[in-house]
């Protein structure tokens, strides 16, 4: 955006003020994580973690060593990773297909299909019937309980459909004239055009899958398919961290200098850093996807 207005001294002053405010916001976002990073590298028995502000006072790697060797965090990360990839891919393909058929103008069932799914946004049967269903379908204690019930999401359907509706109908008509089936059109024409909206939805879906823990607790309580978040919950909030140290203290004096603050900080870092590394690469895509509705609003 170019500036067309006239610059005054107030405007210059505002620039200074604005820089300070935004720097403060950046600080507020970054500092909590930075502080945890410092604590995670600090030997908290030598220097109490409450006095760590910006950098570790007594450097150590034992917190990380302990978390990696003494928890199922890597196992959990593997499950979560699989879940995000398979779950997101599944959701995109199925929801995208649904969104596409609800936009085919000549299809007599389009409005019906759309309504059937929109209703599910507001009503659900509640936990018990859903649990019973999962039992009947033998999805309990399987990985697929994360995937199959989440294949279609009505909200994503609306989002994708709004994008497809703005594509000129002629593109699909041309394909139909050539004798392409609807599935072929979906895979060959719709998918490539819809990449912006798909990447936006992918971010939504992936974040949802990555952060989910409730279904894991209810459906996969036997621990075989523990996701990262459920392990995190145990480590961070139910204080298993300390219990672990307590047991280990007796067995191995190597980890004698651990505290739960240090372990919690290390755990926080281990799960946060990968996300911080990945998401900037997708930034452009999800921004363009989210923009779709807004600009026309």
């Amino acid at each position: 955006m170019r500036n067309y207005y006239k610059e005054g001294p107030a405007s210059k002053l505002f620039d200074v003020f604005n820089t300070i405010i935004l720097a403060l916001i950046v600080f507020l976002v970054v500092y909590p994580l930075w502080n945890q990073l410092a604590i995670s590298f600090n030997n908290n028995n030598v220097a109490a973690s409450r006095n760590i502000y910006f950098y570790p006072k007594a450097f150590t790697l034992t917190n990380y060593e302990f978390v990696f060797t003494n928890s199922s965090i890597l196992e959990g990360a593997k499950v979560s990773f699989l879940r995000v990839i398979i779950g997101t891919a599944g959701t995109l393909l199925c929801t995208g297909l649904l969104a596409y058929i609800t936009t085919i103008r000549n299809f007599s069932g389009r409005k019906f299909m759309r309504r059937v799914f929109v209703i599910t946004m507001y009503f659900s049967g509640g936990l018990i019937p859903t649990y019973l269903l999962m039992v009947q379908l033998k999805l309990i204690n399987t990985f697929w309980v994360y995937i199959v019930p989440n294949l279609i999401n009505a909200y994503f359907m609306l989002l994708i459909a709004s994008f497809i509706q703005n594509i000129p109908e002629s593109m699909f008509e041309a394909a139909r004239m050539d004798g392409a089936s609807e599935l072929q059109i979906y895979f060959k024409t719709v998918l490539p055009i819809c990449i912006p909206v798909f990447s936006a939805v992918a971010v939504y879906a992936a974040v949802g899958h990555w952060n989910a823990w409730f279904d894991c607790m209810i459906y996969n309580a036997d621990g075989k398919w523990d996701t990262l978040q459920i392990i995190l919950r145990r480590l961070l909030l139910e204080q298993e961290a300390f219990q672990k140290i307590h047991n280990e203290l007796i067995a191995a004096s190597k980890f004698r200098n651990l505290t739960s603050e240090g372990l919690r900080a290390a755990t926080t870092m281990i799960v946060t850093v990968p996300i911080l590394c990945i998401y900037p690469f997708f930034q452009k895509y999800f921004i363009s996807g989210i923009t779709i509705g807004a600009v026309k609003g």
Partner: protein
């Protein structure tokens, strides 16, 4: 939610009725491929979404875990009345409305202000940096956020350490233990987590404002503030109004995970919202009928709100949200 203004694009209602039965069959046969796909999708939605809905009948029955739903004894509106009469009812409603109200009041303008501030940045790299950083918290789960909050605001957390070392307080401030801080804390946490992410939509709305408007404004002698006030804000007002109305439709969704993770016995009078209440009785305590009744009530009110706002926006503002 789908944001679209062009209502003319909506499908023609009653298309099927115009045709005779024979023609309809012919049409369905012509569309067989689409119908096969539809049927597969309908089977999925039937199994995973509609089939479990029979479970809402237990809101009107006294269901004891282990019985089949049909065995359970009918009790009519007993559980609804029990909720209305319970001493928790006023608290739960108050907290739900207060937390989502505060979210609308402060959490709603936060991304708008952030977007306006970011938009005014001149240096391109600083702008990109601020944007990128501001999205970070959106990707951090509530579990981790809660852990961060505990280590910062706990009785021996960073904030209390600083307050005490600066001699501002002598006793630690119970940010997490006193109900009066809870609403503020959860609102702040919501803003911290979502303001950056929310600003994306406004930034792109700003980007969509016609360049000519700025030129015209400059001709009219608008300064920097004037540009924001007379050009940018009106330019994104459509988006603002729309999201505001959608937010009102969501007023009973005051959060769930946040409360479960951050609340405790001492702050219960301030954190308990409809969803956590339904979870506590419906799932943890095993009084499924009670929990279902509470959820059902909430669902009905929410849907009415959504349909009302949808009707309102379509009629009055010519914007369709659904």
């Amino acid at each position: 939610m789908l944001l679209k203004t062009n209502t003319k694009k909506l499908p023609v209602i009653g298309y099927v009725e115009k045709h005779t039965k024979k023609k309809m069959w012919k049409r369905i046969i012509n569309e067989r491929e689409l119908w096969i796909i539809s049927i597969i999708l309908l089977v999925w939605v039937g199994i995973f979404a509609y089939y479990p809905m029979y479970g809402v009948i237990i809101a009107f029955k006294k269901y004891i875990p282990g019985q089949s739903f049909s065995q359970a004894q009918w009790v009519g509106l007993k559980y609804f009345i029990q909720f209305f009469n319970s001493n928790q009812f006023p608290l739960v409603i108050r907290n739900t409305l207060a937390i989502s109200g505060l979210n609308l009041l402060f959490g709603f303008p936060a991304p708008i202000i952030l977007a306006l501030l970011i938009n005014e940045v001149r240096r391109k790299y600083w702008k990109r940096f601020v944007q990128t950083v501001s999205y970070v918290p959106h990707f951090i789960s509530w579990v981790v956020v809660a852990s961060l909050i505990f280590s910062f605001l706990g009785n021996e957390g960073l904030v209390n350490t600083i307050l005490q070392s600066l001699n501002i307080t002598t006793k630690s401030v119970g940010f997490l233990n006193e109900g009066k801080y809870f609403w503020g804390m959860i609102t702040a946490a919501n803003i911290w987590k979502e303001a950056g992410w929310g600003s994306i939509i406004y930034l792109s709305a700003i980007a969509g404002i016609d360049e000519e408007l700025y030129q015209a404004g400059a001709v009219d002698g608008l300064g920097r503030l004037g540009t924001v006030w007379h050009i940018i804000l009106p330019g994104i007002s459509g988006t603002i109004v729309l999201l505001w109305i959608l937010g009102i439709g969501d007023i009973l969704n005051a959060g769930f995970e946040q409360q479960l993770l951050l609340g405790n016995d001492l702050t219960r009078d301030y954190y308990e919202v409809i969803d956590t209440f339904a979870y506590k009785y419906g799932v943890q305590r095993g009084i499924y009928s009670y929990g279902t009744a509470v959820s059902l009530m909430k669902g009905v009110i929410s849907v009415s709100l959504v349909f009302f706002t949808n009707w309102f926006t379509r009629k009055k503002l010519d914007i369709a949200a659904l």
